[in-house]
Amino acid sequence: MWDHEIRAMASTHAIIAASVFMATVIPAALVPGFSVYGTHLLWLYSVSGAVTAVSVAVFWLLGITPPTKKHTVGFKLSRLFRSCLYFFLSCLFFHTVVVLYGAPLIESALETFSLAVLLTSLTTLRCLCVLGPNVQAWIRVFSRHGAMSVWDTCLQITVACTVVGAWVGAFPIPLDWDRPWQVWPVSCSLGAMIGFLTGLVAAPAWIHYHRKHLTYKCK
């Protein structure tokens, strides 16, 4: 039963990683002068859009999202609305945190917000897909005994990898090397992206190697 889930997870992650790859390659073919450093914001939005679209589609198809009790259209609409609201709030939250970390307040607000959007689409969106718009469940998942399923564990790993990646990405900024990727927020978004991709690879692998020790209350 577990092997099946791990395989599903691995293929999902492969699809998401492929979408990140395509989101980097396709605009390069279409838009003249496209580059990850030069037109960073374009790359950033194309990647977050791709990840958002693909994750929503894949998770919807897999049916990971917790089953809802009601199936009325109104309830589904309100759920959708709440998800969008949480998405936006999470962008604001990440923006605030990044500013508190020392990002310029006014000068490059657009860049900072774009980074927040990227982080949201890499982390919060996944929470939304796996757990639904339920903040309490999100907080619960990030505890030692909080994971209820393989997907929860996977969520823990990818989110942690992404956040740590973005955090580590801030380190090269003060260095005086004058490289194009040291410009705010290139290193952070690259760090987040690399962390995310690492998480995509690491999560199935880790779960695979620890499948003997993993016990979940449900499922």
Partner: protein, 1099 residues
């Protein structure tokens, strides 16, 4: 409570650190005293002839052009015609070789050897003063780098020569207002290869053609910058050198007959283009001498020197241009430039070799006599030998001159030998790193950090064993020190204290570590074993990697690693804030990971056994989490706001220093001034109010002792004093003319009164630290067997009874009474027991933290007095951040203990200690300080002493207090971390574990008295952890200075950072010791108080 072992261990630890720092700094920072005397024309008298004014005689050259090409390595200057495939830096200056071979009596090219440190500023000092400048030239004031020693530029000015300067703006800082005309260009941007050079070239030729100069100095920076940017082996270097070739050609074409041309480099460069160290690649520059009139007696002969030391330029130039040799020069004249004896026409302008040597030797001897009178760093035996040598030579020369016969040619050689040996002696004293001392210092520091870490982990075992195990290390240390002294006496005849200290420190550390290693096994077995006994690791489990690589220790590791990079040192303020923020965010995340942040979900599926027996009520958990998150918000807010108080380093290009850094009196806009003043006074008031509020809240203000007096009267009075002082010092001088005298008096009296108040308050706290108010009341008798009465409370602190319920400690009394009943009852008799007074003690629960808090508060205001007014806001943020950190620590401890997972006794975990130490660095920056010498706030020395000082001790200590204000506050307040979880303790958290049925009571800090052993061990652990973190930072900056000895930024970034880090450690450790001893003092006082309260009979 065992005070003595704790204090002695801490003292020993600090001493070991100090020895390590002392040794390293002694080997790394070369120190030299500056002699502030100048030579005059009258000094240079010809012996045996009638007095001639040296400066009035026509000199050999009227004018000189000094072309300084920064980092002109000797390899760049050689020309090898056989080299068919030259590297980019080879064969690019053919003009030198062409001139030397075509006009041998007009020109020479020599290697020009610099003395370390081979950095531009020290080198400019070197070849203008003729001395061996070190990194720290004592006597030089750090604030401005102007050269105070006698130098060539000064001497040129004395005799009326017009010096025109163009190029590197370092000169302008070194010789302010000394030039007839100057065109400085910014030297800082290493990436800019052309600004300085092109700027010079725009003016050089026109100036040379004109006639309003006597000495022209042009300092080109392009070659050096090209080296730093691309390295020597790069096409850009070829372009730059070719350009210089053209410059030299053009200058030679424009020279007059009475002009001397000197082309030279100030130092060389390594293969990577850096410099600063003492390798031959860095020290060997080139010097090229040329004049249109014959300069040398003939083509190069056998007696030509192979290498010209850089110091030799000064006496040579001085005598050629007819000025006295600068007072502290230790160079010797370049003999080939002077005609041999007998070939001169006798005029002073044409000094013969011997005459030049004699003038030179006399000047050097005079300097040596003056210097040895001031400083003792030249070894005495070599000094006396030099003196004997000079007096012999002197009498020989004088007698031969008086007799009118020409001196023997050997005399010139021995004069030369004398000058050389003086220079070598000085060089051995000043201009050499001492690698052995550096390595030993590093080793001592490394072992000290390790020892400190081990000590912090072993502190429970050490305290339990009742002997800190310090006797043996101390005895060994004494023995080793004596041994080292004896060995030195036998081998060298004199004793250098540094080596004795080193031997003592190292041996005691090693012995301690060895014993700790042995003890590790036994200690681990005695570690407070839990009920389940799971916590009994086999052996020295505290050194396994997975226990060391936890985030709270990863953060200090990152911090230490960041000290090795100049970019991070430059951006230190922001980097540290980043780290503090990260670690603060880690706390709730970690708590949530452990499932402690939220009330446990009562899951029916979960077995009941998993839950701790006394499940915490969700509301309590929620409240604690709320407090934690609110304090986190406060912390984050003050972190963010503190960023706006930073000053700017010159390396940070687009940086605006905080507007709060300038004193109010400098603000022009009166409205802005008022606003700033109101803000500052508001912050000061809030600081005072918060402190008093806190003390009142915990019932510490009811007593009538010294501490309460300080809180009641000294604290508010001090704030008023400070506010008035700010108002007075902000008034413009011309606004109240008739009150000028009064204002002057107030400027003197107010700060002094504030100093006195601070001293009064601190000594009151020290003398009478108890803040306990005892209320005695007769009560109806009760039988001994009757259950204890429900405690009764009386509101006297002005807050709700609910709060008092938490903070007044009648239970102490009850426990005491019961002990009296049990122990002394039989002795004293039933009647007495019944009529024994009911005692209530207010403020007993915070008896330890209250004096410490007040101590820090008073000290903080005192330190604020030394800062610009605007820093009051930053100090308020500091207080808020301190409070937030304490509350976060307390809440997270409470949350853990509420869930029954806390098992550390009173021990403070790493996270809050790390945060505390990082916050100290953060506020070092947020109070407008930087680890650079120009940023020291010298104004602090004049607070209360507007007319200056007579001594140096008082201003130095005032400036130190100003610079390390945040280090002092955080280190002195460090023990608060131990007390705060107890102050904020939640009922039923620790109680259930600690004292059975009485567990429902909040006993607060009295728990410490109940477990004196745990108290001592926790205090020791906390302070050693703090010391370890401080020491690790010092160790990291020491490593940075040692490893990056020849980094471009070593004297600009790393060495100042090392000095600041080392002095910060010194100040912090002393403050930490003060804080700890205050705690011990309180403990003694509490012990006495209990003794007084409990009648003797009961003992």
């Amino acid at each position: 409570m065992k005070g003595l072992p704790v204090l002695s261990l801490l003292l020993w630890m600090c001493a070991v650190y100090f020895v390590g720092i002392y040794l390293f700094v002694g080997g790394f920072l070369l120190v030299r005293l500056e002699v502030n005397r100048t030579s005059t024309c009258g000094d240079v008298l010809q012996p045996g002839e009638e007095p001639v004014d040296f400066c009035r005689v026509q000199p050999r050259f009227r004018r000189a052009v000094l072309l300084i090409i920064d980092a002109l390595k000797i390899d760049f200057a050689w020309f090898d015609p056989n080299n068919t495939a030259p590297r980019p830096y080879e064969n690019k200056l053919p003009v030198l070789e062409e001139t030397v071979s075509s006009r041998p009596s007009h020109s020479r090219l020599y290697p020009f050897r610099a003395d370390p440190p081979t950095t531009t500023m020290q080198r400019i000092k070197g070849f203008t003063t003729g001395s061996l400048p070190t990194f720290v030239d004592v006597g030089n004031n750090f604030a401005s780098s102007a050269i105070l020693e006698d130098n060539l530029i000064h001497q040129f000015g004395q005799v009326g020569k017009r010096v025109v300067f163009m190029g590197d703006d370092t000169w302008e800082n070194l010789f302010p207002k000394k030039f007839h005309r100057s065109l400085p260009f910014p030297s800082f941007n290493v990436k800019d290869l052309h600004t300085v050079d092109n700027g010079i070239l725009q003016h050089l030729y026109t100036t040379m053609v004109g006639d309003d100069w006597d000495v022209l100095v042009a300092h080109f920076l392009g070659v050096d910058h090209c080296g730093h940017r691309f390295g020597p082996d790069h096409p850009a270097m070829a372009d730059k050198l070719t350009q210089m070739d053209g410059v030299i050609r053009s200058v030679i074409d424009r020279l007059h007959n009475d002009t001397l041309l000197v082309v030279m480099g100030d130092h060389g460069m390594t293969d990577t283009g850096d410099h600063g160290g003492e390798s031959q690649k860095e020290t060997d520059a080139a010097i090229f001498l040329y004049s249109p009139s014959p300069l040398f007696p003939g083509p190069p002969s056998q007696s030509e020197p192979d290498v010209v030391p850089q110091t030799d330029l000064v006496p040579t130039l001085a005598l050629l241009l007819g000025v006295p040799i600068p007072y502290s020069s230790v160079g010797q004249v370049l003999l080939p430039l002077f005609p041999p004896h007998g070939q001169t026409e006798g005029a002073v302008g044409r000094l013969s070799q011997l005459e030049a040597l004699w003038i030179n030797a006399k000047q050097v001897n005079r300097f040596l006599e003056t210097y040895s009178g001031m400083a003792k760093d030249i070894p005495p035996e070599s000094l006396s030998q030099l003196k004997r040598q000079f007096s012999r030579l002197s009498s020989e020369y004088l007698s031969s001159v008086r007799a009118g016969r020409s001196p023997s040619p050997q005399l010139a050689a021995s004069l030369q030998a004398y000058l050389t040996s003086v220079r070598d002696t000085c060089r051995a004293t000043w201009a050499r790193f001492n690698p052995l001392k550096m390595v030993v210092g590093l080793a001592i520091l490394a072992f000290a950090c390790l020892t400190c870490f081990v000590l912090s982990e072993l502190s429970p075992a050490l305290i339990r064993e009742n002997a800190p195990g310090l006797t043996a290390p101390l005895v060994v240390a004494l023995a080793a020190g004596a041994c080292a002294a004896a060995c030195q006496l036998l081998a060298r005849g004199y004793v250098e204290v540094a080596w004795c200290l080193a031997a003592a420190a190292l041996s005691s550390e090693l012995l301690f570590l060895w014993r700790a290693r042995r003890r590790g096994g036994t200690a681990a077995a005695v570690v407070p074993t839990d009920k389940n006994g799971s916590k009994a690791p086999k052996r020295a489990a505290w050194l396994t990697p997975c226990r060391l690589l936890i985030p709270p220790l990863l953060v200090p590791l990152l911090r230490c690693a960041s000290l090795l990079s100049d970019s991070y040192v430059i951006a230190e303020g922001r980097a540290v804030t980043f780290l503090v923020f990260s670690l603060a965010l880690y706390i709730p995340v970690h708590l949530n990971w452990d499932g402690l942040l939220l009330p446990p979900i009562h899951d029916p599926l979960k077995a009941a056994g998993f839950l701790p027996p006394a499940a915490p009520s969700p509301s309590t958990v929620r409240r604690e989490s709320g407090v934690l998150l609110a304090c986190l918000g406060l912390l984050v807010g003050s972190l963010y706001l503190s960023l706006s108080f930073h000053a700017c380093r010159e390396e940070q290009g687009s940086c605006q220093p905080s507007p709060f850094l300038s004193p109010l009196s400098r603000l022009q806009d009166s409205q802005l001034k008022n606003l700033h003043y109101v803000l500052s006074v508001f912050s000061l008031g809030l600081w005072t109010y918060l402190l008093r509020r806190c003390l009142r809240h915990y019932g510490n203000l009811n007593s009538s002792g010294g501490t309460a007096f300080a809180a009641h009267w000294v604290l508010p009075l001090l704030s008023v004093c400070l506010a008035l002082h700010w108002a007075v010092s902000a008034t413009p001088d011309d606004s109240f003319r008739n009150l000028a005298e009064l204002i002057g008096l107030a400027q003197l009296a107010l700060p002094r009164a504030a100093f006195c108040l601070v001293a009064l308050g601190l000594s009151l706290i020290w003398l009478d630290p108890l803040t306990v108010f005892v209320k005695t009341r007769g009560r109806a008798g009760r039988g001994r067997a009757s259950p204890l009465p429900p405690p009764s409370y009386r509101a006297s602190t002005g807050i709700s009874p609910q709060a008092e319920l938490h903070h007044l400690i009648p239970q102490i009394y009850q426990r005491m009474r019961r002990s009296m009943d049990d122990g002394g009852g039989e002795l004293s008799g039933a009647g007495e027991v019944d009529s024994s007074p009911a005692v209530k003690a207010y403020g007993l629960g915070t008896v330890y933290s209250a004096p410490l808090l007040l101590f820090c508060g008073l000290l903080g205001i005192g330190l604020l007095l030394l800062h610009p007014e605007g820093m009051a806001l930053s100090f308020l943020l500091l207080l808020l951040e301190m409070g937030a950190l304490l509350h976060i620590h307390a809440s997270s401890t409470n949350l853990s203990s509420l869930h029954g997972t806390y098992s550390g006794g009173f021990n403070v975990p790493w996270t809050p200690v790390v945060l505390w130490s990082l916050a100290a660095t953060q506020f070092f920056h947020a109070t407008g300080h930087l680890p650079t010498f120009p940023s020291i706030q010298w104004g602090a020395a004049f607070v209360g002493f507007p007319d200056g000082h007579t001594g140096t001790l008082l201003p130095a200590s005032l400036v130190t207090l100003n610079t390390f204000a945040s280090h002092i506050l955080f280190a002195a307040g460090c023990p608060l971390l131990l007390f705060w979880p107890l102050v904020c303790e939640v009922r039923g958290s620790r109680g259930a574990r600690a004292c059975g049925e009485e567990g429902e009571d909040a006993v607060m800090e009295m728990r410490l008295r109940e477990n004196p052993q745990q108290f001592s061990s926790a205090l020791l652990q906390l302070s050693t952890r703090y010391l370890f973190l401080l020491g690790a930072q010092v160790f990291a900056s020491v490593c940075a200075a040692a490893i990056l000895r020849r980094h471009l930024m070593v004297w600009k970034v790393f060495a100042p950072k090392l000095m600041f880090e080392a002095s910060g450690f010194l100040v912090s450790s002393v403050s930490l010791l003060i804080g700890v001893s205050l705690v011990l003092r309180v403990d003694v006082a509490v012990g006495r108080w209990f003794k007084r309260l409990v009648p003797d009979a009961s003992r």
